[in-house]
Point group: C2
DNA sequence: CTCGCCTACTAAACCGGTTCAAACGAGCGC
DNA sequence: GCGCTCGTTTGAACCGGTTTAGTAGGCGAG
């Protein structure tokens, strides 16, 4: 016998076992398999534990034996703090957290530089990669560790699940909407195509190098619609700004609206960019949609609240979050692909061009 | 000798040690204390590890020995998913995540019911309790486990740090602003005072029972200002709605604006409630601030973007998040108290009453 | 030549539990 | 009185590392 119940003063499961003269297995069972103990003994164990100030099995140790930590990890492309200023990302997080809540799982937000220092050691059972990027440091850490993971909006990766939308079709429907209204001079507001913080009008070569899948697809969608309408894509300026917030949209739109002839319609690759564009239009004394039409992408809540309400492409970020989390809960389904619907929502920010 | 390098096919540190005929300590050192090994041996170890498909020490096991998981926990009063629809909470999260990022810490969002099932086992070193509530299930779990924690906006708890603002003064300044403008018929929009999902006009007795510290303090602030101006507090209707979003504000304001005589100014305990109130005013065909003035609390970004821009009490949620996280990083400082500044921001949603 | 010290590495304890096969005793049918 | 089953309880292995005290060997100084 002679276990080591009192080492260093810490109260461990062994302390309790010794105090009662029972085995550690018994104490462990009192917490994890109460039905295996006589109720008398169980009560004695629990009572003694309380008396000794034992707060129950140390989660870390329990976890090591069991091999499960009951936590889902979430890796974000950029610093995690950026996610909180992106309404779409916040909705996504909400979706994920709903599932976590329901399943009694913790949600672990993993940031810590591209090197993946945190990703390498984060205590999680599986990971949602909310990023649109080829394997970089963080994702590599996940792959190395052999953790199950799901990619959202990004590329399909072998062995990993996938949740996304038909970005191309969504973008095409937005462009077609404007073209159908009679617009011929379009401008595009793009989030960063390449991860180099460059800003300016992205030429075709740069568009081709677009690194982020969703970006690339949306660009292709715009282009297909423009060309299908008989226009030249090369005549459509694509203004790229970094990072990807409202201010970026404002600056990109300012540049586009300063062109002569002025575009009569702006296609924004996100609602945040579009809302920035509305501010730029106001700055320039232009009315929306009288002088310039604006169409966004995402349909975040602020889109409907805007003045005028923003025409945009709806996708459910929350549902994406839910799906991603659920995919990880059913391991056999991890390699699944979920493609969620998109839908053009016509509101007040788009109308016929001024000359019509 | 004869270690157990290959049990069940899993590649562990022992596998690598055996393959090389060195001790496990050596392999461990190769990763954690490279300087303790000759570079020759270190390279051999790392190389063999790669060859065997060993991804490095299992974080869980490492953690058990070291006793640190490098993660901060965050407990939210309500279901975590609610936090993502509250702009103030999102800003707070952003502040926390900034620090986590900088310190290479994971941020663990803990939800999972009031019973604290998740809180009891979440793998974290310390906890931020972003809730304004006496010890309930979740917090009890934290206390039992002896984790260091910080309370934000809630009550001061012995041994725990605290971050908050002077809610009373902030509320008083909002009320004083309206009273100075000449308003005499005020109405208050309150978030839940007691956790019973009740809705209606909270009488003095119910106000007294207000369970949430911030709520209680803001109410007192309003009251003090009202009484200092020579008015009777009991004449000011306090409309309570549950939960605490924009829709709640809309409903509360609708009720207040239906009163005769109609209040000429509304004090909202949060910007979300205030923005809901603006919608209610529009519903009722009332102009803001012509027919009714509205003042919020928080100064979230949407406040400045509203039409008209919202007068409100500014506090920095992000800074609160940062402070809370930082408090936990310096253990000796955990019992500290941080009181952040508040400031009235006068914008366009408040003006003199109609008769002036 | 010897002592002491330093470097490179190892054995064994430890982190705090969980789990599984086996032991034990009691009750029961025959 | 015997063999069985059932419900409890336990010893020992295990989870996968980290760490500390200590050893072997090489080298310089005295």
């Amino acid at each position: 016998m002679e276990t080591d119940g009192r080492r260093g003063g810490r109260v461990t499961l062994a302390t309790v076992a010794d105090a009662l003269g029972v085995s550690r297995a018994t104490v462990s069972n009192a917490y994890n398999h109460p039905e295996r103990l006589s109720s008398t003994l169980r009560d004695r164990v629990l009572h003694t534990a309380r008396e000794l100030g034992y707060a129950g099995p140390h989660p870390l140790a329990a976890t090591l034996s069991r091999g499960r930590v009951n936590a889902l990890g979430l890796i974000y492309e950029d610093p995690m703090s950026f996610a909180f200023s992106d309404p779409a990302a916040v909705l996504f997080l909400q979706g994920v957290s709903e599932v976590c809540e329901h399943e009694d799982l913790a949600l672990v937000l993993i940031s810590g530089g591209p090197a993946g220092a945190v990703a390498r050691v984060a205590l999680v059972d599986a990971v949602i990669c909310y990023c649109d990027v080829p394997i970089d440091g963080k994702l590599a850490a996940v792959v190395d560790r052999g953790l199950p993971f799901v990619v959202v909006d990004g590329p399909r990766l072998p062995g990993a699940g996938h949740v996304g939308i038909d970005d191309r079709r969504g973008a095409a429907s937005a462009a077609r909407h404007l073209l159908d209204l009679g617009h011929t001079r379009l401008g595009v507001l793009a989030m960063p195509l390449v991860d180099d913080e460059w800003e300016g009008t992205a030429d075709l070569e740069r568009q081709d190098r677009a690194r982020y899948r969703a970006c690339r697809e949306r660009l292709i969608g715009y282009r297909e619609a423009v060309e299908a309408a008989g226009h030249r894509w090369s005549a459509v300026p694509v203004e790229e700004r970094s990072p990807y917030g409202r201010d970026a949209g404002r600056r990109a739109a300012a540049a586009l609206l300063a062109r002569r002839p002025r575009p009569t319609a702006l296609l924004a690759m996100s609602d945040e960019l579009a809302l920035g564009a509305m501010a730029a239009a106001a700055d320039a004394g232009l009315s929306v949609p009288g002088d310039v039409s604006i169409v966004g992408f995402d349909d975040v809540p602020a889109a409907a609240d805007a003045h005028p309400a923003l025409t945009t492409v709806r996708q459910s970020h929350r549902e994406k979050g839910r799906r991603a989390a659920e995919l990880l809960l059913r391991p056999h389904a991890v390699a699944d692909e979920h493609r969620l619907p998109v839908e053009l929502v016509v509101r007040a920010s788009s109308g016929p061009p001024p000359w019509r």
